[in-house]
């Protein structure tokens, strides 16, 4: 028995796997066990410190894309796929573009649901700072070719919301932060478009809001309501899938 204990102790010293308690059945002296636990604690602390340092450098170091290093390939792929589905489902928007001169915010209204359900699912899965910005960039690739103004709109709103979520919620850990960002993503393009049309002197687009301000307010509320409903649906889908084990952590 003593010989077996010695062998077990030797193995414990040589092999890390043995730390997981394979040799628990053997009686090892209390002093040795304490030493081992201490070592294990030290190792854990060291690992935690390393992770912390890595995290802090990745979030604070602004040079050479360090901020993106926290994202894994898996996260980027999922965000890109969700962006693709947003793009495909938003293909109805060009059909209502001619109506923009008569109905304020019609484009935002028809894309409100798609632009909230899928980003909400994406953010519920990839709860990392910068996720919304990535979605903005990925959806912007087609917009960059079709309408540069829309691309700039997307990027600016993405950045504003990311900053807001950092300041208010310090990331996407809470579901409320996901709700906040996604519910505002589409409605924020309304004031942006208005200001943009005002700057470039496109009176006909601004006149829609100026001539019937109450209708514009009503449409803005409708856009916000659709976005909120879409976000809630997205969050519900995510929670259901999380419960079913589809969203692997």
């Amino acid at each position: 028995m003593q010989r077996q204990d010695d062998e077990a102790r030797e193995n414990l010293q040589s092999d890390d796997v043995c730390k997981d308690g394979i040799f628990e059945k053997y009686t090892i002296s209390e002093q040795k066990t304490d030493e081992r636990e201490e070592d294990r604690e030290n190792a854990d602390n060291q690992q935690a410190n390393e992770e912390e340092t890595q995290e802090s450098t990745s979030s604070c170091d602004c040079g050479k894309n360090k901020i993106f290093s926290r994202f894994r390939v898996k996260d980027i792929v999922f965000l890109a796929i969700m962006s693709a589905i947003v793009l495909v489902t938003s293909a109805v928007m060009p059909l209502v573009v001619p109506l923009q001169s008569t109905i304020f915010g019609i484009a935002q209204l028809v894309t409100g649901l798609q632009l909230s359900v899928f980003p909400a699912i994406a953010l519920m899965k990839v709860r990392k700072t910068g996720s919304m910005f990535f979605i903005s960039v990925f959806t912007g690739i087609i917009q960059l070719l079709m309408s540069p103004a829309m691309f700039i709109n997307n990027i600016v709103i993405g950045l504003i919301l990311e900053l807001a979520v950092i300041v208010i919620f310090r990331g996407y850990k809470k579901t409320a932060s996901v709700f906040f960002v996604v519910a505002l993503y589409n409605p924020l393009s309304l004031p942006f478009n208005y200001v943009y049309n005002l700057i470039i002197g496109n009176e006909i687009m601004t006149a829609v809001a100026d001539n019937a301000p109450w209708a514009a307010v009503g449409m803005s509320i409708a856009v916000l309501a659709v976005s909120v409903i879409g976000t809630l649906i997205g969050i519900r889908v995510s929670k259901e899938l999380e419960k079913a084990g589809v969203f692997k952590k």
Binding site: F68, A80, V117, V137, F138, G201, E203, I233, V237
Partner: protein
């Protein structure tokens, strides 16, 4: 987008930049009497440089949109000059789109990769652009499964949610997992790692000629029109 792209398109980033310049200058010149000449010139230039598919495709959209905008403007203002300005603005947007429409999204991504843009951005863009056909197929399969099960009309919210939306998202998550594994095994890494760009995009003589003509034309239009 692919079917409208030019066979030998211009340098992708220059095409995007051209679109932005045309939009800005076109909107500035919209209020001037001869502002539309500039837009016509750019349209012709792009046509000559191989963007004929996009140039022709934009005509019906421009006609319908400009028609509606002009009608609304004239109804509101009863002023011919304001109506022409509205038409010029719409045409500026339509002509600005041509340069972007004429290039493949993959070419733009390749261009960004050549310029060493962050891998996370280019990888995501590649997936977002290349995912459309797969997405269409998945949607079709789910709808077929719905028909087989006799799930009922998609217009019913409960049917849409349970029989369409949830399976679609589950499929997307599974595809995402498989794709990310596949991407990783092919050596895609995110971060500061060096990577090989197989199809490099270079600025050629044709691009240079276009840039010179376009810049000269734009400067002359801003000064004289």
């Amino acid at each position: 987008m692919e079917r409208l792209s030019a066979k030998r398109a211009l340098y992708p980033l220059m095409s995007v930049f051209t679109g932005i310049v045309v939009l800005v200058v076109g909107l500035i010149l919209a209020k001037r009497e001869y502002g539309m000449i500039y837009l016509g010139g750019v349209w012709l230039l792009l046509l000559l440089f191989g963007y004929y598919k996009a140039c022709l495709a934009v005509i019906p959209f421009a006609a319908v949109t400009a028609g509606i905008f002009c009608a609304v403007t004239y109804a509101l203002s009863r002023d011919v000059q304001s109506t022409l300005s509205a038409a010029a603005r719409i045409l500026a947007v339509c002509v600005a789109v041509i340069a972007g429409m004429g290039i493949r999204p993959s070419a733009l991504i390749s261009n960004l990769s050549t310029l060493r843009a962050p891998r996370s951005i280019t990888l995501g863009m590649m997936i977002a652009v290349g995912f459309f056909p797969l997405l269409m197929r998945e949607t079709k399969q789910i709808r077929e499964a719905m028909r087989t099960r006799g799930a009922g009309s998609m217009l019913r919210p409960t049917v849409f949610y349970r029989a369409f939306l949830l399976p679609l998202v589950i499929r997307l998550v599974n595809i995402s997992d498989t794709l990310s594994l596949s991407v990783e095994t092919r050596g895609f890494l995110i971060g500061d790692k060096n990577y090989t760009v197989y199809k490099k995009t270079v600025f050629g003589i044709k691009d240079g000629v276009f840039a010179v003509i376009f810049t000269l034309g734009t400067v002359l239009a801003v000064i004289f029109l």
